[in-house]
């Protein structure tokens, strides 16, 4: 029940606008990974490619199979999670960020209600600090509900999906 998020840089550089990635920027990326919950980073720029991964990069799996919700917020409206059975598992957000249901505005959503997903299959993207973090399923199962909307701000521990585990 661990999750290994992989980060892909979509913008040209973290700061944007620079043409070359210099040592300072790489240092910044390293420090960024070091101080955040993001553990893996792959970056492609013209001419080169960087891949970073934390030594001890497993973060606790934010899933919840109790019926109670982990928490709430005054700021962000949340839908009520519809948990239908004992094997239904809530997939919680491991971070604060913005929810994207698809790889790009033109793409199809990664998943729809009723879809069957395999372990390791991408469920959505969470963007934070302009880094795009693919959230993958830890297990195979059927999507019962999707509780976040495209471009919605997400807080830590917020329920994103309910998946009926196989």
């Amino acid at each position: 029940m661990k999750r290994h998020p992989v980060v892909k840089i979509k913008k040209r550089s973290v700061r944007g606008g620079d043409d070359e990635m210099n040592i300072d920027e790489i240092r910044e990326l390293i420090l960024l990974l070091d101080q955040t919950s993001i553990s893996d980073l792959e970056l492609e720029k013209e001419g080169y490619r960087i891949s970073l991964r934390k030594a001890n990069s497993e973060i606790p799996a934010p899933v919840n199979n109790s019926k109670g919700k982990v928490g709430g917020t005054k700021a962000l409206d949340e839908k009520e999670a519809k948990i239908t059975s004992e094997t239904a598992i809530e997939v919680l957000s491991p971070m604060v960020g913005t929810f994207y249901s698809a790889a790009s505005p033109d793409s199809e959503p990664y998943i729809k209600i009723g879809d069957h997903v395999e372990a390791g299959q991408t469920l959505c993207i969470l963007e934070a600090m302009k880094l795009f973090n693919e959230i993958k399923s830890d297990f195979a199962g059927t999507i019962v509900d999707i509780l976040a909307e495209n471009a919605e701000p997400i807080e830590f521990g917020q329920t994103l999906f309910i998946i009926e585990k196989d």
């Binding site: 928490g71 971070m95 604060v96 807080e155 830590f156």
Partner: protein, 449 residues
């Protein structure tokens, strides 16, 4: 002025900052870990975002989640409080990158003042007195004697690679210096595999006195006088007061001037504190500069009437200082006691748990900065400070009597706190005479601890 500020902290300082924002008409965003869902700062803020697990590393130190929360909810600025990310220059820099105003000095100033060697260099260049000593390592007894003569006995020999008291020796005379030198070298070598030593003047029973400064982005700098934070237990401040029983008007003026010089040399703006050690003869020596609001800032607020946190926010919003040095007038005496959920009879062990009835002291001259309420559960994850009681009196005796009164009326059911220890300090005859220094607790209260 900002219309929305995120507070990247918890506990009483988060509450303190929310209060400042409210008075300035600014919306507040609280962030909280899963352990802090019921915290007062979450209840008080206009908005709140959960930013991670209970360990601070997953939440209050999680830069990505904090910045994402600020962006998600449209914050224009981030106040870091104290502790956590408050002196993290990398965070300050990232805020700027992401178009969030960091409420504090510039990142490179935080970085420079956070580096002891750099900070001392800046201070020295600005003519700020440092603890006298050898400029680096001392290689021979003759050199040591010369340095010692220059700075005056007693002197302290310290291991360059040192720490934890290893390789430290005190010498009162040239004769004792010889032996001290060789034993210090041996000890240093044994402990660190490096026998390099240096010499510093030994400050006996020093006071820890700090000057509160405020500066804006236009180079205006003022100070709000001193705070005497000599009452410490293992380098943790327990009780702070303003003014200090040691300083007269002339000393106060000089230390204020020096503090402003140090801040000016660092191109400092926002609220900051220049810390000094002061010996019995009122010689003062720069220790370091804290580039954030201090836990004990309320004592300065009580005597000057200036709201330091509001001023800090105004400065970050690009406003010039609201006060000139002449506007700063200290009145009366203020004392702060930090009430910790710790057992003073059991080596100050943290004492988390669920509070029963919680009735804070009130009435004239009493201020309470707290994040606890009746039936609140104090978790073991963070600092054990649950409240600060700050009192103001016309003079020190009134302030002391008022603090005793306030602490005695404070009801915190089910939790063991440091209040009984504070009451003993307040009743101590040496304390009442104003004779405090950093080793006061060991010397004057050891039978109590």
């Amino acid at each position: 002025m900002f219309s929305r500020v995120l507070i990247a902290n918890r506990g009483e300082i988060a509450v303190r900052i929310i209060r400042a924002c409210r008075e300035l008409g600014i919306d507040t965003i609280a962030v909280y870990s899963v352990a802090d869902r019921d915290s007062l700062h979450v209840k008080m803020a206009d908005m709140a975002v959960c930013i991670g697990g209970a360990p601070a590393r997953e939440s209050y130190l999680n830069i990505s989640n904090i910045i994402a929360a600020a962006q998600n909810l449209g914050a224009q600025a981030i106040h870091p409080g104290y502790g956590f990310l408050a002196e993290n220059h990398y965070f300050a820099d990232l805020c700027q990158t992401y178009n969030l105003k960091f409420i504090g000095p510039k990142a490179d100033v935080i970085e420079a003042m956070g580096d002891k060697v750099k900070a001392r260099e800046i201070a020295r260049a600005a003519g700020v007195p440092l603890v006298p000593g050898s400029d680096g390592a001392v290689s021979s007894y003759e050199e040591a004697v010369t340095v010692a003569q220059e700075i005056g006995y007693p002197i302290m020999i310290k291991a360059s690679a040192g720490g934890g008291g290893k390789g430290m020796r005190l010498a009162h005379t040239p004769e004792s210096l010889k032996e001290a030198l060789s034993t210090a070298r041996m000890e240093a070598n044994a402990a660190f595999g490096n026998d390099e030593i240096y010499i510093e003047k030994y400050i006996e029973e020093p006071r820890h006195i700090e000057i509160q400064v405020l500066g804006d982005e236009y180079g205006n700098l003022i100070h709000l006088g001193e705070r005497d934070c000599s009452l410490q237990r293992r380098n943790q401040k327990l009780l702070e007061e303003s003014p200090s029983t040691l300083l007269n008007e002339e000393m106060r003026r000089r230390m204020g001037e020096v503090a402003i010089n140090a801040a000016r040399a660092a191109e400092y703006f926002s609220a900051g504190t220049v810390e000094f050690l002061v010996d019995k003869k009122c010689n003062f020596y720069f220790i370091e500069m804290n580039t954030r609001v201090q836990v004990e800032h309320p004592v300065s607020e009580m005597v000057t009437g200036i709201d330091i946190v509001k001023e800090q926010i105004r400065i970050a919003a690009g406003q010039p200082l609201s006060y000139t040095q002449d506007d700063v007038k200290s009145r009366g005496w203020a004392i702060e006691c930090r009430v910790n959920a710790e057992d003073p009879d059991n080596n100050f062990q943290p004492y988390p748990g669920t509070v029963g009835q919680y009735v804070v002291p009130g009435g004239p001259g009493v201020r309470v900065d707290s994040s606890v309420y009746s039936n609140y559960t104090i978790t073991p994850y963070y600092d054990s400070m649950i409240a600060k009681v700050i009192v103001w009196g016309q003079d020190r005796p009134e302030a002391v009597a008022r603090m005793k009164r306030a602490l005695n009326e404070f009801i915190i059911e089910n939790i063991i706190t440091t209040i009984p220890f504070h009451l003993k300090v307040l009743d101590n005859a040496f304390f009442q005479r104003g004779e405090v220094y950093t080793n006061f607790i060991q010397r004057r209260m050891s039978s109590e601890v």
